[in-house]
C-alpha cells in the first residue's frame, strides 16, 4: 500500500503544494490532476524516490520509502517525460537492457512478443533514434509489459500516442489493475479507465 502523509513540495522559492495526503490500495488507480505547473511531475518523482519531499513522508506498506529504497524499487516502474531509451541501441536491445536493469531479464522471444503487442513489430531492429515521437514512447511503455512490477508510476503516458495506442495502453492499465496492480498516473487528456478503485488527487 502506497501512502502519502502531509507531503509538501518546494521548488526554488515557491511552495508548490503542502499537506497532500493520499493512499493507494492494491488494484487502485490514483489519478493526479491539476493545471500545468501545479507539481504533478514533482509529486510523482517523490513517489518513486527520485527526490525527497520538503516535509511529510511517503510510505510503502507502512515504511518510509527512503528506508526501503532497493526493496521498494524492485516493485516499481516509473515512466516519466523522458523516454529513458538510448538512441543508438535498437528497439529490442533497449527493451532487454532496460528490463534487465529493472531486475527482469527477458529472453529475446519474450521481447519480440512484447514489442508486437505494443505495435512495434517489424521495427525491432531499428535504432531508436530514427523512430517517430510516438514510437519512442511505445519503446518506453513496453517496459511495463516486460517487467512484472506492482506499482506503475506514469507521467502523462498517453502523450504522443495515436488513437489505437491510447486504447491499447488503456487496456493494459485495466488488466494490471484487475490483477491487483497499482497505478499512479497524470494526464491532461480525458481518458476513462475502468477500475474498481479510482482515487482523484487534485493539485491546484
Amino acid at each position: 500500500m502506497l501512502q502519502g502523509i502531509e507531503v509538501a513540495c518546494v521548488r526554488g522559492d515557491r511552495e508548490l503544494f503542502k499537506g497532500v495526503n493520499f493512499s493507494l490500495e492494491m488494484g487502485g488507480l490514483l489519478q493526479v490532476s491539476g493545471p500545468n505547473g501545479s507539481g504533478k511531475t514533482s509529486l510523482l518523482r517523490m513517489m518513486c524516490g527520485l527526490s525527497l519531499p520538503a516535509s511529510g513522508e511517503i510510505r510503502w506498506n507502512g515504511v518510509s520509502i527512503g528506508t526501503l529504497s532497493e526493496e521498494y524499487f524492485a516493485c516499481t516502474t516509473y515512466i516519466g517525460h523522458l523516454a529513458g531509451v538510448k538512441d543508438d541501441l535498437t528497439v529490442t536491445e533497449n527493451l532487454c537492457i532496460s528490463s534487465a536493469m529493472a531486475g527482469f531479464e527477458i529472453s529475446s522471444d519474450d521481447a519480440s512478443n512484447v514489442l508486437n503487442t505494443i505495435g512495434l513489430g517489424g521495427r525491432e531492429h531499428l535504432p531508436v533514434k530514427v523512430l517517430s515521437q510516438g514510437q519512442r514512447r511505445r519503446v518506453a511503455l513496453a517496459r511495463l509489459l516486460a517487467c512484472n512490477t506492482t506499482l506503475w508510476v506514469l507521467d502523462e503516458p498517453f502523450v504522443a500516442l495515436d488513437v489505437a495506442a491510447v486504447q491499447l495502453l488503456r487496456e493494459i492499465l485495466e488488466r494490471h489493475l484487475q490483477q491487483d496492480g497499482m497505478v499512479v498516473m497524470t494526464t491532461h487528456q480525458e481518458i476513462d479507465i475502468n477500475a474498481s478503485l479510482i482515487t482523484q488527487l487534485q493539485l491546484s
Binding site: V10, G12, D13, R14, E15, L52, A54, S55
Partner: protein, 247 residues
Amino acid sequence: MAINWFKYSSPASFYSLAGKMIPLFAAAAIILLIMGLYVGFFVAPTDFQQGEAYRIIFIHVPAAWMSMFLYVVMACWAGFGLAFNTRLSSMMATAIAPTGAMFTFLALWTGSLWGKPMWGTWWVWDARLTSELILLFLYIGFMSLQAAIDDPRRADKAGAIIALVGVVNIPIIYFSVQWWNTLHQGASVSVNQAPAMASTMLMGMLIMVFASWMYSIAVILKRVRIIILERESHTAWVAELQKEGVV
C-alpha cells in the same frame, strides 16, 4: 527533515546572533590590524639578510596560513552539513570559500612579489608554492561547482563532496609534490629555511594572523547572513524581518 535542521541550529536565531557579533569581530580586526602594522613597520628591525623586503612576511604568512585553515574549516562545515543535513553548516561552507580563495590568491601574490627580489624569479615550482596553487584551484573548483548549480540543496551536497575529496587530497598533493621536487635539483632558496626571526618580527606576524582571523570571521558572518536571506526568503521569519524593515 525540517525538524532535524532546526534541532541543530536555526538560521533564524543564528541570523540575529551573527548580526550582533559582526561589529565585535570587525572592531577587533581593525585594532589588531593597526597594532600589527605598527609593530611590523615601526618596531620590527630591518632584516640583516633580506633588508626591508621581508616586511612582506606580515601579510604573506597570515595569508598562507589562513588559506589552509579556511579550507579545512570549510570542508568540516561542509561535511557536517552533509552528515547531519544542517542547512546552516552548508551555508557556512559556501560563505567561507570566497574568503579562503582570496587569501590563497594573496599568499601567491605576495609570495611572488617576495620571490622576485629574493630568488630572482616570480615563480619556482617548489613544493609549497605548487600546493598553494593547487589549493587555489580547489577553492575555485568548489565555488564554480556551487555557482553552476541552481538548486541550493544540490549545491550544498555536491560542494560538500568535492570539498571533502579535496581535503583528503591536500596532504597527498603536498607530499607528492615535495617528493617529485627532490628528484630534481631543488629550488635555489627554500622557504623552509626562513631566517631565525627576531621576536618583534614574530610578534608582528602573530598579531597579523589574529587580525586575519578576526577579519575572516567578520566577513564570513556577513556573507552567511546574506546567504541565509537569499535561501530562506520563503520562510515566515524573513517576511517578519521584512515587515519590520530590518532587511
